[in-house]
Assembly symmetry: C2
Homo-oligomer: 403 residues x 2
């Protein structure tokens, strides 16, 4: 007997690229999907149909005609609103957040949580996974994978957290293995992936936010302490040979500056983080609120016009600009996006920051690099979901066949 003819006799190879195009919003209709994939209409049709039967996308065959266009309107493509989700989680100094994230970076459900500062990784990730499992139970969604963002460099391929800042975790903790153990213990038959939070934020911003369309995207951001960076090259996260690239915190931005634990002076880390701004403005860090919140308040609150605050802001902006210029010289990105405190420094005086970068980068004069703020809420969380989605984006058929 012959096996019944499946509907998919073409488009198998294009399935992954097609899903990525819809996922990142670059293929709003079947017609542009055809041209973007560089295949025939027949193939694109088969691909779209298959992705629809897989429950990943929606093909709207009763389209609203675009105004001023000629010819037959194309079917509209969108991410399935009730499709499967990824379990995403972010751990930071103040607690954690678990969420379910669908294709297109859509946060379907979310649950904040708290951690005691001295909890070990297994305990924290156990709570995280329990929260995520609860969301899955409540929504009844199918889960394609799990992703975790941690405030630490994550070594590849080991999946260990080398410097978990402000968490009471041992350096070198095998977070990915622990995460997977917790997932298995919770009865979730999915694989878990881990990544540095700023790396994942950059990935999310590239696919769904301010980094969309950039070929060489540089992302620089502060958390509560220190500075992190990330680079997305041609749509893929570039994290170096061992996951440890873009440790940008120790670029020298003030030769006579503060001493840094790295042994040098005036590092980006200690000159442009929230504490640096507070100190430059002559404010002692208060007990209430995080350093980031206090520093941000300085930039956007009622004291933003105080001369001392304005001077401090200008100084820190200049330091940041010097650091960005150094990175521009080495990485030659075509867009820079800023997060954390840096985002608010940019907002405080965009012209000054852009001028410093242009002035101090070697090729700045011949073509300034656009510098923009991050635009996505919970970008690290969405980025963690991207990790989990990646196998599906690479090969939807085999990734979804295993369940």
């Amino acid at each position: 007997m012959t096996s019944p003819r499946t509907r998919l006799d073409r488009g198998r190879n294009a399935l992954g690229p097609a899903l990525e195009l819809v996922h990142t919003g670059r293929a709003p209709t079947r017609a542009v999907l055809t041209t973007e994939l560089g295949v025939t209409r027949a193939t694109a049709g088969a691909v779209a149909g298959e992705l629809q039967t897989l429950g990943l996308i929606t093909v709207d065959s009763r389209p609203s005609a675009a105004p001023g266009s000629q010819g037959r309107p194309s079917h509209r493509l969108s991410v399935a609103a009730d499709g499967p989700v990824a379990l995403a989680a972010q751990v930071h100094a103040d607690g954690f957040r678990a969420a379910l994230v669908g294709l297109g970076g859509r946060i379907v459900a979310t649950a904040p949580g708290c951690v005691t500062v001295d909890a070990d990784p297994a305990q924290v990730l156990g709570e995280v996974v329990a929260a995520g499992a609860g969301l899955l139970r409540d929504t009844g969604r199918r889960c394609v994978g799990a992703g975790l963002a941690v405030p630490s460099a994550v070594a590849e391929p080991e999946g260990t957290a080398l410097n978990p800042l402000h968490l009471a975790w041992p350096a070198g903790a095998p977070v990915r293995d622990i995460f997977n153990d917790c997932l298995a213990a919770a009865g979730l038959d999915v694989t878990g992936h881990c990544g540095n939070d700023i790396n994942l934020a950059a990935l999310a911003e590239h696919r769904h936010g301010a980094g969309h369309g950039a070929a060489h995207l540089l992302c620089v951001a502060t958390g509560h302490r220190g500075v992190g960076g990330a680079l997305v090259l041609e749509g893929r996260l570039h994290s170096g040979s061992a996951g440890l690239a873009l440790e940008v915190g120790h670029l020298t931005v003030d030769p006579g500056g503060r001493p840094c634990h790295c042994g040098s002076r005036g590092c980006l880390d200690v000159e442009t983080d929230p504490l640096a701004l507070l100190e430059a403005a002559g404010r002692a860090p208060g007990p209430a609120g995080s350093l980031l919140a206090q520093a941000q308040d300085l930039l956007t609150g009622e004291h933003a016009t105080d001369p001392a605050v304005r001077d401090a802001t200008a100084t820190v902006i200049d330091r940041l600009g010097l650091g960005l210029a150094g990175l521009v010289n080495i990485l030659n990105p075509d867009r820079i996006i800023l997060g954390g405190l840096h985002r608010w420094l940019l907002a405080a005086d965009p012209d000054r920051l852009r001028a410093v970068v242009e002035e101090r980068s070697l090729w700045g004069r011949s073509g300034a690099v656009p510098i923009e703020p991050c635009t996505l809420d919970h970008n690290s969380l969405v980025g963690a979901a991207e990790l989990a989605w990646q196998p599906v984006l690479d090969d939807p058929l085999s990734a979804l066949a295993t369940a």
Copy 2:
């Protein structure tokens, strides 16, 4: 009538990857070509046969059996000794060199030349192309393309030289267009490609030299003045979004150091180039020989044991190590290779240099990066040839069909 069945009914897509494997020496036999390509023996056989009929490789079917091996010996694959060549050229402060380079980075013929310091690009490249055309005439080889290495950043996609050091060329000279004009004027129907000399050296070292097999290769080198860098990621040159990446010369390596024209102090450029070593050793640059030759003589000649020279060497090594550590933190390479004076600094005291890099890079302690000297003669020249060969490596059939 039906077209006569060509010998190639399979292997068309694998043609390029297969040629690259032979070109880089990673497929010495047909059996490993099969496994490396991940195809069946039948496909690998068709590919090897087609590449042989194209005149690009040689299949030795009367092989010498490997000692201690079982089974039928595999056919040996090698680059065709009398196949087509690329026209490669390098321009530097002292003159130029033209050469014909076959697959595998083999220099088939070479011709040095001189330039007057005040000659303009059109004149210099005219002489360069004339020398290359002479070599082609003498050898009767077929030419697949032309590549040019220049001591300047080359902006992409324009192909302009932004800072031609020590050449009397205007900044922003459209070297690629000029090069192609000269090629056309000489009656050569090939396209010319241009690149920065250190970028091309790194590419050549990756494919045929000390960088072979590295996934994230960082190359740092001096010429006569200044410092350049290059990065080869997964076998492809990474030159940033506009060809301007790895301008590493202005990393701060000595906060209290010499002033630099960039506006800062103690840049890698002015602290680790040949002039810096000469000055640190208290030697005035002499009129005879290039700065590079004088500095190298200090490291390897009779004065290498003088205390002042040893101190200067140690100081410059420390500065270089600091710069490399900064790059390791940002790029996380899995191998570093050094050229120019830096190669001889490494040779003078490898332990010291490696110790500084390990000490000052954030993750050095958990896994030191191998640091090696460049090993290829004329690596920029070979790299220029790689540029010309690339279209053939990408798609041998269509690249060779157009002639």
